[in-house]
Structure formats: C-alpha cells, structure tokens
C-alpha cells in the first residue's frame, strides 16, 4: 500500500506545467488534489514514470465571472467551490452536488478540474459539467481549445484530452435566473461512490418547463444525459405524472452495467426513482 517510485515535477507556472506535460506525455500522471490518483498509486493500480504536481501553479486556481456564467480554474479546491457565492448564484447545481463528494477532508484537497479530468462515471462533477453544458478549456504547449462537456467524456476514466494537454478551466454557462436544481445519489454508505445518481436543473417560464437538464452517474462508462426525457419535459407542466413518464423515458436511454454492488436492473430502477425526486425538487 505504498506508491511506486516515480519522477516528481512541481511546476510553479502554467508554462512550466505544459512543458512538463509535453516532455513526459507518454508516461505521466497529473496530480491535482490527489484524492483519486493517490489511492491508485497506493494500490499500485497506476505506475506513472513522472508525476506532475499542479498544486504550485497558482494561476490554475480561481473563480471568475464568465459570459453570464462562471469560470472555475481547474485547481480550485472543491471545498472552496462549495462555499463560493458566485458559483452558488450562477451554477447552483454544482453547489448542490459538491457536498456529495466524499467527505470534507477529501474536498479540502480534491479539485474541480481534477475530478472532471479523472472522469469517473460515478463521480459528481463530471455529471454537473455535462448537465450544464460546461466548456472545458484544454491547453497544451502550443495551443488551446475548448471541448464541450458532451464531447469530453469518452469512456471509463477516459477523456478527450490529448496526452500533452491539461484541463485548465471549467466554464459553466449560466441558466435562467431562479432555475431549480437537485442532486440525488444512492450510495452504500454516506460519502461512498454512488451506485446511481442524478443531477437535475430545470428552468420554468410561467407554469411550463422552458429548459431541462437531466444527467445520471453510475449508469454507464461515462456520465449520461437523458436527452429524450429532457425533450419530453420542455414545454410540459410539472406534475408527478409527467415526471414519472420522463423517468421511464430516461430509464430506456440509460445503459447501466451490473456489478457486485448492484445489478443493472436495480440501477435502472433506482435511476428512475431518483430522477422523479430530483425533478420534483428542482421544480418546487
């Protein structure tokens, strides 16, 4: 239960970090908050030749207004994001989801960008990014590009990031003012990885749903949007019946796998139940 030996690089500027990333692209791990990488190292499930520690790159942490929404530096600690007023105002779904990540001691170290780049399909922040159509800014030594969240999560612990790229910022577009949000997950124990979870953000216009986002975790290799269910809900009046129908639609879109913790059928069923609860809460 001790990490394997590795070469350690601690850049203090983004430029140095991108240089290191380019130099060690074929065999490196990026250490953000370490709350996923360190267990993988301790369990000897990862053997990176080089570990690039981003903690010293101050310019990667910070929260700023962005185009009606909010931009969050990749190295912003989850605990900082949890208490941030701008995120609460512009991306309340993230504020609501954050306390579900592990425990305070984990969120003190864990970062927003680290969780998204790690892309665990049972993790909360990737689903939040997907639900809110976040734009993920990737940088490399020569160049920068923006990846839509919908294109970012490629598979289990796999993203669209190239081996020489770093996720530097998470840009979350704002939704209509006063929209409702909810995040529900089922885990074996409080703080454990979710068996199934759902993130919902719903904006009403009058008594009708104008914008609806429904993203699930723990139901496939990546976080998943239930886009058919969303489409069905837009224009509808919120009611238990409509939500039940939307949940059925969502269940048909999901492709959960069974494992020792829960069968595929159980996950699908729970996804439907949680979706109804989340939709009701988000439209209260």
């Amino acid at each position: 239960m001790k990490p394997p030996a590795f070469n350690y690089v601690a850049p203090t500027t983004l430029e140095e970090a991108l240089d290191a990333r380019a130099e060690h692209a074929d065999d490196c791990a990026v250490l953000a908050g370490g709350q996923s990488l360190m267990p993988l190292l301790n369990l000897r499930m990862a053997f990176p030749g080089t570990v690039i520690d981003l903690a010293g790159v101050g310019e990667l942490a910070g929260i700023r207004e962005w185009d009606g929404g909010v931009a969050i530096g990749a190295m912003t600690r989850q605990r900082t994001a949890e208490g941030d007023a701008l995120i609460r105002e512009r991306a309340p779904l993230m504020t609501t989801a954050l306390p579900n990540i592990g425990h305070a001691a984990i969120r003190n170290r864990g970062t927003v960008g680290g969780s998204i780049a790690h892309a665990d399909p049972a993790a909360e922040l990737p689903a939040v990014a997907l639900a809110l159509d976040a734009q993920l800014v990737a940088k490399k030594k020569r160049g920068e590009r923006t990846i839509e969240a919908a294109d970012f999560f490629a598979g289990f612990l796999t993203t669209a990031l190239e081996p020489d790229e770093l996720l530097v910022e998470v840009r979350v577009p704002g939704m209509a003012k006063g929209h409702g949000v909810a995040f529900h997950e089922l885990a074996r124990r409080h703080g454990d990885f979710a068996l199934v979870g759902v993130a919902a953000a719903v904006a009403l216009e009058g008594d009708k749903i104008a914008d609806c986002r429904l993203a699930f975790i723990g139901v496939g290799g990546t976080p998943m949007r239930a886009r058919e269910a969303e489409k069905m809900l837009v224009g509808a009046q919120p009611s238990a019946e409509v939500f039940a129908e939307a949940a059925e639609r969502a269940k048909a879109e999901l492709d959960p796998a069974g494992d020792t913790h829960a069968s595929a059928e159980y996950r699908r069923r729970v996804a439907g139940v949680l979706a109804q609860r989340a939709l009701a809460e988000a439209t209260r």
Partner: protein, 156 residues
C-alpha cells in the same frame, strides 16, 4: 528521487530529505517518529490518518510529503497542552469514553479540530456530518459525538 522539504509540524520546523513517493503519513510516522497518526486503509476511506494541513483536514495517506513543503501540519501529538496534559478535545474524549481500541481516535480528533475551529457551537448533526468520513468499528459513534459536543461546551 530525493527532495528536500521544510514544513512545520505541531509548531516545530522540520527539514528532511524525502523520496517523492513518501506519503505524508509515512513521513510523519517513520521519519519524524510521530506515530500518533494511524494508518488504516491507506487509500483514503477510513480517515484514521487524518491530520490538518494549514488548518484544513486532510488524509495524510493521500498526500505526498513533498506536497506538504511549506505547510503547517498538525497531528494528534499537537493537541496536547504545553505542559503535556491532555488538550480539551482529548480530555473530553476520555471523559465521554469516546474510544475503545483507540485506533481511529487520532483521525477523529483531527477532524473534530477542524470542525471546532470553523464552528465553535456545532449541533449534533454538524458533528455527525463532520465525522462522517471517519470509521470507528468499536464505539457505534454515539460517545464520539458526545465527546465533540462536550469539547465544544468546554470551549475547545
């Protein structure tokens, strides 16, 4: 690969040369011989190795010693009063019978230290939420919650 680190541990400045892969937990226990920090699961689940880093609770098994360079680290040994007697939180634990085997206790106390620094008058729910990341296999937690409440009452 060896790297020089300088950090403050329980108010004492320490400089050491550590291997990059050395966890903060092993650094505290093996290099500084501060064996009060206990290692349970070594992958961030049990909370036994919790210390505070610049006042914020952290799993010392999920941090490298090199990441603590320049930091102010506090461990269970740092909760003692200057005269060597038990600190308020420690005494409250003893008075509440908040441990049996005691293996998890250091992690609980460091987690509670962060809580009480942020919130001097927590409710029982606050305490339960705060310590939810620490596992105890003996007590059933009730006496630990009582101990933290008692420590708050005594102004820890």
């Amino acid at each position: 690969m060896s790297i020089e680190v300088t950090l403050t541990v329980n108010g004492v400045t320490r400089t050491a040369s550590v291997e990059a892969r050395r966890t903060l937990a092993d650094f505290l226990r093996e290099d500084l011989e501060l064996t009060g920090t206990h290692l349970g699961c070594e992958h961030g689940v049990c909370g036994a190795c919790t210390v505070t880093v610049n006042g914020a609770s952290a799993r010392s098994c999920l941090m490298l010693a090199v990441q603590a360079d320049g930091a102010d680290v506090r461990t269970i040994e740092g909760l003692l009063e200057p005269d060597g007697s038990l600190g308020v939180l420690q005494q409250a634990c003893a008075d509440s019978h908040a441990f049996q085997c005691g293996f998890c206790t250091p992690g609980f106390l460091m987690t509670a230290t962060e809580l009480l620094a942020e919130n001097a008058t927590p409710t029982e729910d606050d305490v339960r939420e705060a310590i939810s990341g620490n596992l105890c296999r003996c007590t059933g937690y009730e006496s630990i919650v009582q101990a933290v409440m008692l420590a708050a009452e005594r102004g820890a």
